[in-house]
């Protein structure tokens, strides 16, 4: 079990820094069509903020929400990505042809743009979850009980 850090300075700093990192990661994710960034970077940054949360507030924080997510949500992002791609088949076009997405009031170029945004979110979700998952698996203090429960 990862213990929470007992220093008040660290905890206060964490409260300040973590939201900023998360905000920045969301910015990087959604601004990637206009500047550098994208799903990978945004996802890794978001994952890093969650890892930081774990390191500062301990693994039991908020009913172990992050751990639960790390071990169960693996693949949801991929499912979103794949879902958008497969939806294009059902709209009668080719795999991953975002222009086929039937969005009223959108011309093909905007539909593609929309497709890019949604798939970026999928990538970011998957990467942030896996970042936390790998962090958990690699971290040395892994004799925790919640893990055994999940694995059973």
């Amino acid at each position: 079990m990862i213990q929470s850090h007992d220093s008040l300075v660290v905890q206060t700093l964490g409260r300040l820094v973590i939201p900023v990192i998360q905000l920045y990661s969301v910015y990087v994710l959604f601004h990637s069509q206009f500047g550098p960034g994208g799903g990978f970077v945004g996802g890794v940054l978001f994952g890093a903020s969650m890892v930081l949360t774990l390191l500062i507030f301990g693994a039991g924080h908020a009913n172990g929400l992050i751990e639960q997510m790390a071990f169960r949500a693996d693949g949801l992002g991929l499912l979103l990505f794949l879902g958008v791609g497969t939806l294009c088949i059902f709209f009668g076009e080719l795999f991953f042809d975002y222009a086929a997405l039937q969005l009223p009031g959108f011309d093909p170029a905007s539909r593609r743009s929309f497709g890019i945004v949604v798939t970026q979110i999928g990538v970011a979700m998957d990467i942030s979850v896996v970042t936390v998952l790998i962090f958990f698996c690699l971290s040395p203090e892994l004799e925790g009980s919640w893990k055994n429960e999940l694995g059973a």
Binding site: F34, G35, P36, F40, I127, I134, C137, L138
Partner: protein, 125 residues
């Protein structure tokens, strides 16, 4: 041997790539410490990225983010986006490989308490 020098000196990026790639490869094979092998692997992967990015450089161009005020776009004004796109993929693939490699290293260490290859082989007998 003249052509070697000539080819290499005209391409400093390429020289750096060759050095990184061969050095990393050498460490991957010759060093017996599992983690140092992975450092070698990291050098090999990043060296390859250096090689690819070099293919996309255009003198007198800027980053491939279009200025929408200047349409139609002049392709010569922007760097080549393909190597960058490919290497984004390669970076993520590299880090995933590293993750699996570390999982292996840690599970090996938990069972055998050593990371030195020859010693591992001895302990496994």
């Amino acid at each position: 041997m003249n052509w070697v020098l000539e080819t290499v000196l005209r391409r400093p990026n390429f020289l750096a790539f060759i050095l990184l790639f061969l050095f990393g490869l050498h460490i991957m094979v010759a060093d017996k410490h599992l983690i140092r092998k992975l450092i070698g692997m990291y050098l090999v992967q990043t060296g390859l990225m250096l090689f690819f990015i070099t293919q996309g450089v255009k003198t007198g161009s800027t980053v491939p983010i279009l200025l929408t005020s200047e349409l139609p776009v002049q392709p010569a004004a922007y760097a080549n986006p393909i190597p960058a796109a490919l290497m984004l993929t390669a970076i993520v693939v590299g880090v995933a490989t590293l993750g699996v490699a570390f999982a292996l290293v840690i599970s090996i260490y938990r069972q055998y308490q050593t990371l030195e290859e020859d010693e591992l082989v001895r302990k496994m007998q």
